[in-house]
């Protein structure tokens, strides 16, 4: 198809060939993607639940966010390595997969939201309703990313 040449090229890269080589390569990278998922989304969800006021109430959202930040970043790094690796293995099909497209839109929104409004909402003087709103939006965005990811294999 027109416009697919970049994605076709991706599938011929050495790392794509490695992903399509041994049988264990894809499941191993996918498992690492899930470890990254738990770190990235798991640590953000902890802050979200605090922003909503329903978990970890013995410390402030700001304290929690500061303590978890490094682990969120490790999770993000793991996702940004394993995700593109899996994408390269079958780039043309993923590129046309509506669930994948949905996931990428939600992921972009979730990341932008995380590094702007979400981060600001963890500051001490945030009004409660703003904190709750940020926590709810963040949770909804990340849940959409995970749901979109799960659906890729089914459409």
């Amino acid at each position: 198809m027109q416009g697919d040449s970049f994605f076709e090229l991706l599938t011929t890269t050495p790392w794509a060939k490695a992903m399509n080589g041994p049988e264990w390569a894809f499941p191993v990278v996918e498992s690492l993607h899930f470890v990254g998922l738990a770190l990235l989304v798991g640590t953000i969800a902890i802050v979200d639940l605090r922003l909503l006021g329903i978990a970890m109430r013995r410390q402030s959202a700001g304290e929690l966010a500061a303590d978890l930040e490094i682990w969120t970043r490790i999770g993000l790094a793991l996702m940004l390595i394993t995700g593109p690796l899996m994408f390269s293995a079958d780039a043309v099909n993923y590129h046309h997969n509506p669930s994948f497209q949905f996931k990428m839109v939600c992921l972009s929104a979730a990341l932008v939201f995380h590094f702007t409004m979400h981060r600001r909402a963890t500051r001490p003087a945030t009004p409660p309703f703003v904190a709750k709103f940020a926590g709810a939006v963040s949770l909804a965005l990340w849940i959409s990313v995970v749901a979109g990811g799960r659906m890729i294999a089914f459409v």
Binding site: F34, A55, I143, R150, M151
Partner: protein, 161 residues
Amino acid sequence: MNVLSALEWVESTNLSTAIREGALLYPIIGGVHLLGIALFGGMLVMTDLRLLGWAMRRRTVSEILEQFRVWKRAGFVLVVLSGLLLAWAEPLKLYRSLSFWVKMALLVSVGVHALVFRKGVYEDAKALDAGLTPRAKLAAALSLILWAGLLVTGRLIAFDA
């Protein structure tokens, strides 16, 4: 009644057929299973990293353990229930999957781990506020390994013939 005919009966139930053959039910339940891992796996990992002394060191061990406990339990129930539904949909396939049996063995180990380390670690978190013990660190390391093993074998089930 032998095992295989019992599993064949499971697969013939309406619930099993509905999950297996419906367009949306299987991915939705799979999504809930994955969301359980995403939302509560982080708490499990952070609890273990705190017990190892690698994360959230500004907070005492008991604060972390006590505050995560109810959420980790809820997450565990969510993952197990959605997992049971997924298993109910295709028991014969799982019966023949080596990865599934390794995963079940790991799940039993999780139960043993909980029993072994309840005393001295999870039920005695206050005592750990004074200092982390080798026993607590061992519990955390084993917990992380078991959890990673469950993730990998769970994923591998989809790749078994």
